[in-house]
Subunit: 417 residues, 2 copies
């Protein structure tokens, strides 16, 4: 008998009526003969309402007490969901994070899961129960209640699936899978049947809302088969696993774009050892996340650097550089705002020459010039002007054969595990 | 340094603004040099809202899941109250029932506290914290979350006070103490300075809303000094303890009245051994609570019985009696509805002859006839017609010298512990 972990987000259980539909879905799974563990987030706006209440009382509440407060949201969800399953005539038991044996490091607000003792969950399954576990929360060894931070319920689900050696961890959400690119941008974007952990991490911007990168890292580490699928339809969803099968003739899995990129150039930097380390060390110290770094050739003992940061960090980054001038002499800084990073991702590109060249061609075919390039084994990123982004993404989508209908696989991931 | 347990009910923390006032009150106590443990109920309507939500999903939810659901109400309260205290610049830590070491029997919805392991609370106090504990909840030895049923937060406070060997357990509520009778009935009803556990139990109807009988029993068993006082004023309140000091010349502490009483008479019962046992055994089996029982003299081998039940149970009791007729022959049953039981309570009456006679005089002085009488060491109850109840209670209040101003004690209970 297989064991499935199902995770439902806050919008899937946002109303008591939706809660009932989710309960039916869980019962259907159980009736297929599966042992079922369910992880749930807080209902709809519950967490925001609790945060508002806290702020009314104390604008700067202690993190420990925020965790005490916010964990009630998931506890309410699991209790109500269990009641909804009982209403359908099936046995269910709800558990808080600490009851489910989820032990975290002693940090509040963003604790990492250290260990899971799954004995209680396993014996509850043995009793024939559908087990419902509160997402996003755990307990320290000293018995303090903690939360896991953003994407916490995804991480709970994946960590439980790993500890329980589940056959699959299904993440139910309001979209029906991971797409080859944003369907709001490219109409013929298509749902991927499979994707590898590494590709998924690179494509974070396509999936961030449905699947938190931390949960993907956890899944990769413990080799948990993840499925992203819709809570509202029965469509098959996308399977995220170690080695995703590539479809015939497809080397690029998906296309991501990241708006609000600023490029900063530092010109005429003295070409001495340690200069780069000093410069980027200072930026890191100020919490500035630097993405692509490009160094042009050295001329007359002076070099030019360019790097990208998010628009929000642009002014701060220029301040930091200004402060560095006495220590790291340079001629001047320039910057350009409102750029976009567009990336193609696919594990197959490492063995396919000419993938990057095809990208440059596609971008230039719509009259856009490339400002920066960065590559990894499974990704090529280009920084370009923000407009016309839609045309660029569409051209890339076509260039890599992603527009054609999905015929390589007949069944969805659920048939294949 | 003394240790005080303070308990605040749901209406005292019903809004974030009230929560702030309660926090100030707690801080004031702490600044007096006291070590302070606070027990809080769920805010205002939180519990009712949660029950409504559960009923929307399942009209007959499992008791285990109701406990999972309802305990979030107190967890929200303790977290917010702790934040409010931090806002005032003092250290506080909140704890759920299980974190506070409150172990209950394995029953849901109305578990009794079995044991308290106060180590964690004590070491938190040693760290200098104000300790905030969620009322109404505990955990079984197997780690299941339980609730204590009605009056649960009072019981949590008293049980914690006993386990921590607190000097006093203060129950804060929306009235400023226990009154000699219902102030809505008798204008000159006055607040009692002291009352004994036994008197308090007999006067349950005067204090049920502010102090649950179970908490009083617990306090009596562990000899916990209880104070009932207002969360909105600084008045001294009422001290409930083992031996309450009687004021000069006062033998009756208070007057309670219980409406909705029905009297049932069984006439011409065969006077055989075991007849009473059969009759009242059958009523008990059907869950009918019989209060006063009176047997008139036996004439010609036949006896008449009268007993009182609540109006709700009247029809059911008559049905049970009709079913008994073949087994316990009797002539007929009669009943009278809409009666009232009025009681005088005072530990001093056992050593004061004529207390009952004065009651009968006072009742007859307003032209009311007495239908039944029942006495115990500290109580005399009379069943009378429902009208004019106010005049009867006023006459009794005057007859026992309760109208005079309270002069026997100058200070309130807080000065005396």
């Amino acid at each position: 008998m297989s064991l499935t972990v199902m995770k439902f987000g806050g919008s899937s259980v946002g109303t008591t009526e939706r809660m009932g539909r989710v309960a039916q879905r869980i019962v259907d799974k159980k009736l297929q003969g599966d042992r079922v563990v369910v992880v749930v987030s807080a209902m709809g706006d519950t967490t925001d309402d609790l945060i508002d209440k806290a702020n009314e009382i104390n604008a700067n509440p202690p993190a420990r007490e925020m965790d005490m407060l916010l964990t009630t949201g998931e506890q309410i969800s699991v209790a109500l969901l269990s009641m909804a399953i009982h209403k359908l005539g099936h046995d269910a038991k709800s558990y808080t994070g600490w009851q489910a044996g989820i032990v975290t490091e002693p940090t509040h607000g963003r604790a990492k899961i250290g260990d899971i003792s799954p004995e209680r969950i396993l014996s509850s399954l043995d009793e024939g129960n559908i087990v419902i576990v509160a997402g996003f929360q755990g307990m320290t060894e000293a018995g303090e209640i903690t939360t896991l931070g953003r994407g916490g319920s995804d991480t709970t689900a994946v960590a439980l699936a790993a500890a329980l050696k589940a056959d699959v961890c299904e993440i139910y959400t309001d979209v029906d899978g991971i797409y080859s690119t944003d369907p709001r941008v490219v109409k013929c974007a298509r749902k991927l049947n499979e994707i590898s952990y590494d590709e998924m991490l690179e494509l974070a911007h396509l999936g961030a809302a449905v699947l938190h990168p931390r949960a993907v890292e956890y899944a990769k580490h413990y080799k948990v088969n993840l499925v992203v699928r819709s809570s509202f339809t029965n469509n098959a969803g996308t399977l995220v696993r170690e080695e995703a099968q590539m479809e015939q003739g497809i080397v690029v899995r998906g296309i991501a774009s990241d708006k609000n990129v600023a490029r900063i150039s530092v010109l005429g930097v003295e070409d001495e050892p340690g200069v780069l380390a000093t410069m980027f060390g200072a930026l890191a110290e100020h919490g500035i996340d630097v993405d692509i770094i490009v160094q042009s050739g050295v001329q007359g003992g002076k070099a030019d650097f360019s790097f990208t940061v998010s628009m929000n960090d642009r002014a701060k980054a220029l301040d930091v550089l200004a402060g560095l001038k006495p220590k790291v002499p340079y001629l001047e800084t320039t910057y350009e705002e409102g750029l976009v990073k567009v990336s193609i991702v696919g594990a197959g590109m490492v063995s396919n020459p000419g993938v990057a060249a095809r990208m440059f061609e596609a971008i230039s075919s719509v009259g856009v010039s490339i400002k920066m390039v960065s590559t990894s084994e499974i990704k090529v990123s280009c920084v370009i002007a923000a407009e016309p982004l839609q045309e660029v993404v569409r051209a890339l989508h076509t260039a890599y054969g992603l527009d054609t209908a999905d015929t390589a696989f007949v069944g969805g991931p659920s048939e294949r595990r």
